[in-house]
């Protein structure tokens, strides 16, 4: 369907937040490799998070969630909606990234063909095609893709497409000191995630759960699997993301047929002109 016939398996991330130390090596390694510009220097007071969210200039983002312990009115904002006096204090950290959805709404709504599926079944936005229309931005159910103010174009994680092409792993996964970020075939990542979940639950982390695993759900499966220690909402992740474009393929099919007709006419015009 995406035109690749080389037997390349789908590649993806497994981000194991149970061993994330919030060092932000992933954020920096990503920026250094991909030449991503810095954000404005602004201290947020949101625990140790000063990049705040994924965006055009932040393709890996580490969330810091302080929760539990004695709750007080002046405590740092916590994504956790429930705080119990009895609950042990926790400082959760999690490196978020593009999910490289099976059904990628950003790609589906892109009118220019700037977004496409690579041979690794990752979703990449092409800077030389993107015209900055911004349709993709609201389409993403995770709020990942974003327009950069300086050039107007849309940017997000490419899963280091250039590195993958030469057999290198993405910069963030390579740098990650504790192997919180793992990279490999999605099949292997999903299996690794399941194994780790068993270990973490057996160690007494009752709230641990996988996120983005399996082919079902509103995006028909993600290329980025996460092991979370609490519900997705705690980390600021949508619990039930749905690609608004899920039903678009049939529409696009019709549009494509129309386009083919048009393209044939245009091509004929070119050829005719040349002659």
């Amino acid at each position: 369907m995406t035109g690749y016939d080389d037997g390349q398996p789908r590649m993806g991330f497994f981000t194991d937040t149970s061993v994330c130390i919030g060092c932000k090596a992933c954020e920096v390694a990503c920026k250094e490799w991909n030449g991503v510009p810095e954000n404005p220097f602004a201290w947020t007071g949101e625990s140790y998070d000063n990049t705040s969210s994924l965006g055009a200039n932040t393709w890996r983002h580490v969330a810091f969630i302080e929760s539990g312990g004695q709750s007080t009115a002046s405590t740092v904002q916590s994504a956790s909606s429930v705080q119990s006096e009895d609950e042990d204090f926790r400082w959760l950290m999690s490196s978020d990234v593009c999910k490289h959805c099976t059904t990628a709404a950003c790609l589906d709504v892109c009118p220019t063909g700037a977004l496409f599926k690579t041979e690794f079944e990752t979703v990449v936005v092409q800077e030389d095609v993107c015209n900055g229309c911004g349709y993709c931005v609201p389409a993403c159910p995770y709020g990942v893709i974003d327009r950069r103010e300086s050039d107007g174009r849309a940017w997000k994680c490419t899963l280091c497409y250039d590195r993958l092409k030469v057999g290198e792993e993405p910069a963030c996964a390579k740098a990650c000191p504790t192997d919180s970020i793992n990279f490999g075939t999605l099949e292997a990542m999903t299996a690794m995630a399941a194994d780790r979940l068993d270990v973490v639950v057996a160690a007494g982390r009752a709230g641990a759960q996988l996120y983005g695993d399996g082919p079902s759900g509103g995006v028909d499966g993600a290329g980025s699997v996460f092991l979370l220690l609490d519900d997705p909402e705690v980390y600021g992740l949508p619990p039930d993301p749905i690609a608004g474009s899920k039903h678009l393929p049939s529409l696009w099919g019709a549009a494509a047929a129309a386009a083919v007709t048009l393209a044939g006419a245009v091509a004929a015009a070119f050829v005719g002109g040349r002659r």
Binding site: V28, G45, Y48, N50, T75, R90, P177
Partner: protein, 841 residues
């Protein structure tokens, strides 16, 4: 560790996956705490009480690894009968002289030993730390100390230790540290449960332990625990210093320190020694490996002065300048303020931000005639004359500052060859990748060419003071477009040569007859077989787990020091699980995973003859071969100036009274009497209530030290873009601090401002029935760079550990109030109002 050494922390994560219990003791709940099994919030400055409580727990429950303790430590050694402990003198040891504020350590010695002598002589009357280098009490030959291996003798180290710490109960730990007994028990039990033949435990520390007026004794307390539990010299054991600069270990091994020559050989002291032979006699230990000190020293002198160094002139020993007291950086600072220092070089260090009492440094640099700053970027220490906080307060005026400043751009590590020595004593060579641009040059280039220019200017001089420069071996080959001196040639000189000019294979080949040269004896062997061993990069996965073919560790490529202790006295591994180095009777040699740290062919049953010297004077069952008695020291008879045993003293500035002794703080701590260094009153002193909170400093993962290598880079600057303070919700409520607002933190030195991060990660502690609040401050900011802010170190005064002159910046007292600090001269008025009120109330 996750916070400041994230990549090292991968091994902790891996250990945890394999079942290790990870305990994190820190005033602040950090990234490390987030992954640890146990986090222990502790009052900054109280760790000796905490660790002492563990010592007491081990001894009173007899949880020590007794076979190890009896065989390998000085537990059985009997002390002199005139030694008096702090338990009997209310916080002082015997030998205290209140007039000189120093100890006469003769009563601390082993019974039957000649008093005082040590490798690194310490008997000089002054505070004497400066006369030391190498460690180790000297045993007069033929007089092994008396021992009682039943450990029952009331004056044996074991019993003295037990009594010394007997009052460090869980209740006292709670009173001093704010750690509840159940939490303390969890830590103590975990350590004891991981001791013995089958199991080990390791300690990791950083400057949270060292930057105290009792910093050395913090590490000593951990050493006692590790020796009692049998965790030294064994895999999975040890005490690991997590050092914060790429080659901070190297900079003591090959010291840019005033009191040492390369390889921990003491700088000669003007009043301590007469001639060369007197120096050697007083510093070399007859027993243990320091017995060969004369060979190490003579080889060093030969490396420096070549043919000019002969037996007839004591190998140019007299060319060495003499020290005569404390010439450490904080002493130099005082002299600088007094106008006694004319010229100052800064090599990749930024004291205007990185040193305690930054204002004092900036005021002092304004008194210099000239200053040379070598750095990658335009750091605060290079621009104090135009934009320091003192310009703003009006204390300094640019036009009045006569200091001539040279800012010389440095080459980066990618632009030069050389070695860093990392935190496990591993030398690793980094290769030059590209040429430095513009005027950027390596410090090797700078130093070599400066020396060349100096020698050219002095050529033909007949002044005797110029002989050391003119006779210096300074003929390094140069290469490339900038005439870069060859780092490889320097490393070869460090490794050493024999009489034929061939590279030696290790320090055992060094001689004291002038036939060998060696720039640093402990690094000898780094170029063995003519191969740059430090440049070895055999992939880790192609080697054993010890990975001996990656880089080169001193000494002799040993990865774990004193590893003979990984075997029992008979030379057998303590257990199959923990086998590391053992005696192979068939081969008649020590063997194992690592290079044995023991004379390779000395069997476990070797007993020294009465006239044996150096390492031959130690038996085959004594693993601590650098110590004169071959044993790990639970008790330190010689080598420390502030006590043979660690004792809980409060930080110099503390809102808490010492509940254990009348002696509030380390009696031997070094204080600096200067108007720019006023101190906060502590508990029990008038005005102490003006500074009711504990303040501590630390690093963040996103930044590096004084910021020269992080605040100037956008990809790091954006991650922590502003100076902030961390306070608990309770303290915020008490002081009216608003989350994300501003706070002003005040001490007797200055006041700084910071954004307020209210967080439960800084927990208030219950200490002696009251709540003690702590203020946490990262110290990375200064006035320059992409992100700027006030410097936390400006808040701290100079109160120093007397052994090593380290500054106490990990625990002091402060006040905190909402809002930004005053601008201009009003800042000094605010601080002065505190000092005056503090004194009066």
């Amino acid at each position: 560790m996750a916070e400041a050494h994230p990549v090292g922390f991968q091994w902790v994560v891996e250990a945890q996956r394999r079942g290790a219990t990870v305990i994190h003791v820190d005033p602040r709940f950090t990234r490390t705490s987030a992954l640890a099994d146990v986090h222990v919030p502790i009052r900054a400055g109280s760790d000796i009480a905490f660790l002492g409580g563990i010592v007491n727990h081990i001894l009173s429950n007899e949880r020590d690894f007794r076979e190890y303790v009896v065989a390998y430590t000085n537990a059985a050694t009997i002390l002199r009968d005139d030694f008096v402990d702090t338990e009997d003198l209310d916080g002082l040891f015997s030998g205290w002289d209140p007039d000189t504020r120093s100890y006469d350590i003769s009563s601390w010695q082993y019974a039957g030993m000649a008093a005082g002598s040590a490798a690194g002589n310490r008997e000089i009357a002054t505070s004497a730390a400066e006369t030391t280098g190498a460690g180790g009490a000297k045993l007069e030959h033929g007089d092994p100390p008396e021992r009682d291996e039943t450990l029952q003798h009331p004056r044996c180290v074991y019993q003295v230790l037990k009594r010394h710490f007997s009052r460090y109960t869980p209740e006292v730990v709670e009173q001093v540290c704010g750690v509840p007994p159940e939490l303390f028990a969890r830590v103590a039990d975990a350590l004891c449960d991981n001791s013995g033949r089958e199991r080990t435990g390791a300690f990791c520390y950083a400057v949270g332990w060292t930057q105290h007026s009792v910093g050395v004794q913090y590490i000593r307390t951990a050493s006692i625990i590790q020796l009692l539990l049998g965790n030294i010299g064994r895999p999975g054991g040890g005490i690991m210093a997590l050092r914060g600069h790429a080659s901070i270990q190297g900079s003591t091994d090959i010291p840019t320190l005033y009191d040492l020559l390369p390889g921990y050989i003491p700088m000669p002291h003007a009043q301590a020694y007469g001639d060369f032979s007197d120096y050697v006699r007083r510093n070399a230990a007859p027993t243990g490996f320091w017995g060969h000190m004369s060979a190490y020293l003579v080889s060093l002198l030969k490396a420096w002065w070549g043919d000019a160094a002969t037996a007839d002139n004591d190998f140019c020993f007299d060319y060495l300048p003499r020290i005569s007291g404390d010439h450490s950086t904080y002493q130099t600072l005082q002299d600088m303020l007094d106008g006694k220092v004319n010229g100052y070089f800064l090599f990749g260090e930024n004291p205007a931000v990185g040193s305690a009492n930054g204002r004092m440094h900036r005021l002092a640099m304004a008194k210099l005639d000239w200053l040379v700053v070598r750095d990658l970027v335009e750091i605060e220490s290079a621009t104090f004359w135009k934009d320091s906080p003192e310009i703003d307060t009006g204390e300094l005026r640019t036009a009045d500052i006569g200091t001539e400043v040279f800012l010389l751009p440095a080459a980066a590590h990618t632009e030069k060859d050389g070695t860093f020595t990392q935190t496990q004593r591993l030398l690793q060579w980094h290769h030059k990748a590209v040429e430095p641009k513009g005027d950027c040059r390596s410090d090797l280039w700078f130093t070599y060419h400066l020396g060349r220019l100096l020698r050219e200017r002095l050529a033909g001089s007949d002044d005797p003071r110029d002989r050391p420069l003119l006779d210096l071996t300074w003929d390094y080959p140069t290469e490339g477009p900038h005439d870069e001196p060859s780092a490889d040639a320097v490393l070869r000189e460090i490794n050493g040569h024999d009489a034929d000019g061939s590279l030696v294979s290790g320090f055992a080949e060094l001689r004291d007859d002038g036939s060998t040269s060696c720039g640093c004896w402990i690094y000898s062997g780094c170029y063995a077989d003519g191969v740059n061993q430090t440049a070895r990069r055999k992939p880790g996965h192609q080697q054993s787990w010890v990975a001996p073919e990656w880089g080169w560790a001193w000494p002799a490529n040993r990865r774990i020091l004193y590893n003979r202790a990984s075997a029992d006295p008979d030379g057998e591994p303590w257990s199959a699980r923990k086998r590391y180095v053992w005696w192979d009777a068939a081969q008649g040699r020590w063997t194992g995973e690592d290079v044995p740290d023991f004379p390779a062919a000395t069997p476990p049953d070797y007993e020294p003859a009465a006239d044996a010297v150096a390492e031959r004077a130690l038996s085959g069952r004594e693993p601590f071969i650098m110590q004169a008695d071959g044993r790990g020291w639970l008790y330190v008879p010689s080598g420390l100036v502030d006590g043979p045993l660690p004792t809980h003293y409060e930080p110099h500035e503390s809102p808490v009274a010492n509940p254990l002794y009348a002696q509030q703080a380390n009696p031997a701590r070094e204080l600096v009497d200067h108007p720019a260094n006023a101190y906060n009153p502590s508990a029990g002193q008038p005005g102490a209530q003006r500074f009711p909170y504990v303040v501590t400093t630390y690093r963040l993962t996103e930044h590096h030290t004084a910021g020269g290598m992080s605040r100037f880079q956008a990809h790091l600057a954006e991650l922590q873009p502003e100076m902030f303070c961390e306070v608990s919700p309770q303290l915020a409520a008490e002081c009216g601090l608003e989350h994300r607002g501003w706070a002003t933190i005040i001490t007797s030195r200055t006041a700084i401002e910071a954004r307020v991060l209210v967080t439960q990660r800084i927990a208030p502690l219950r200490v002696q029935g009251r709540t003690v609040h702590q203020v946490g401050l990262p110290w990375h900011w200064g006035g320059r760079g992409l992100v700027t802010g006030d410097s936390a170190n400006d808040l701290f005064g100079l109160a120093l550990d007397p052994n090593v002159h380290i500054q106490e910046v990990k625990a002091a007292s402060c006040d905190i109030r909402p809002g930004r600090r005053p601008r201009g001269p009003a800042l000094r008025r605010l601080v002065e109002s505190y000092v005056e009120q503090g004194a009066d109330t």
